[in-house]
Symmetry: C2
Subunit: 143 residues, 2 copies
Amino acid sequence: MDVLTIRDVARRCGLSEPTLRYYEDIGLIGPIGRDASGHRQYDTADLDLIGALSCLRATGVSIGDMRTYKANLANREETAAEQRDLLLRHAERIEAEIVAQHARIGYLRAKAAVWDARDHADGVAEAEAWQAVKEAAQHLGFH
Amino acid sequence: MDVLTIRDVARRCGLSEPTLRYYEDIGLIGPIGRDASGHRQYDTADLDLIGALSCLRATGVSIGDMRTYKANLANREETAAEQRDLLLRHAERIEAEIVAQHARIGYLRAKAAVWDARDHADGVAEAEAWQAVKEAAQHLGFH
DNA sequence: TTCTTGTGTTCAAGCGCTTGAGGTGTGTGA
DNA sequence: TCACACACCTCAAGCGCTTGAACACAAGAA
């Protein structure tokens, strides 16, 4: 059970150091042990929870839901199905988000084509590009 | 040139009403005209800018960059190439983000499988699922 | 005519961090 | 041994919204 600094944990879990301190402040993780000079000492057991929370966070899960997830860890047996569903729900959320991201890429590229046409002072290309922007915008739900 | 309420604009551009007010407060859009009772009246000319900003925002573009984009609209000819590049850069950002999202989905599903195995008290399945979680975590950069 | 419903308004506070200022303790090089 | 870098600390303020409270106005029902 080796000891990790806040920097190590930040790198390995994809959270910033301030975020790790913040999560500890609000009781989402920890309390984390300290060495003689007050520096945090994470152990590998902390990594698993922090990694899971980091991933939940990256998918837009609220602090409240993360608390639920953490609280459920205490009584595994009863809440296993709930945990599974929470995770699957968020996986679906991300899938929806990916679809939206594709639509955004389409819009950005279409709009970039308009500016490219303008850069080359090509009125015909610009008109075509505008058409593509309109379609992309509809895909996004704009109008 | 028909007139739109804040609600119409919010729906058509995918921004919330408070966000639209906020963007006006900080000078990112507008100023927007008002009717006799102080309600905002957007016109269709506003929609194009707001739609573009909304999409930039959705891709994580900072308010500062949005200001640049808007400022560049004033002198189109000189900045056309810059506008195009700004948009393309952000399209690439989203592509990278999508890759990350796929990795997150993998992690969430793997973790869900662990809880599912626990729910069914299936030790063998749980051990296998853990293996998948480890792989998914590596994909995410979690050591 | 009053009363409710709906849509808007402003202003203040909260959220989930991020950034910055200012300080502490440890380790290495001169 | 002293200087300096460096990794960490706390605390406060800022960011980009969101939420909520309290109020204004217009239209239709009782």
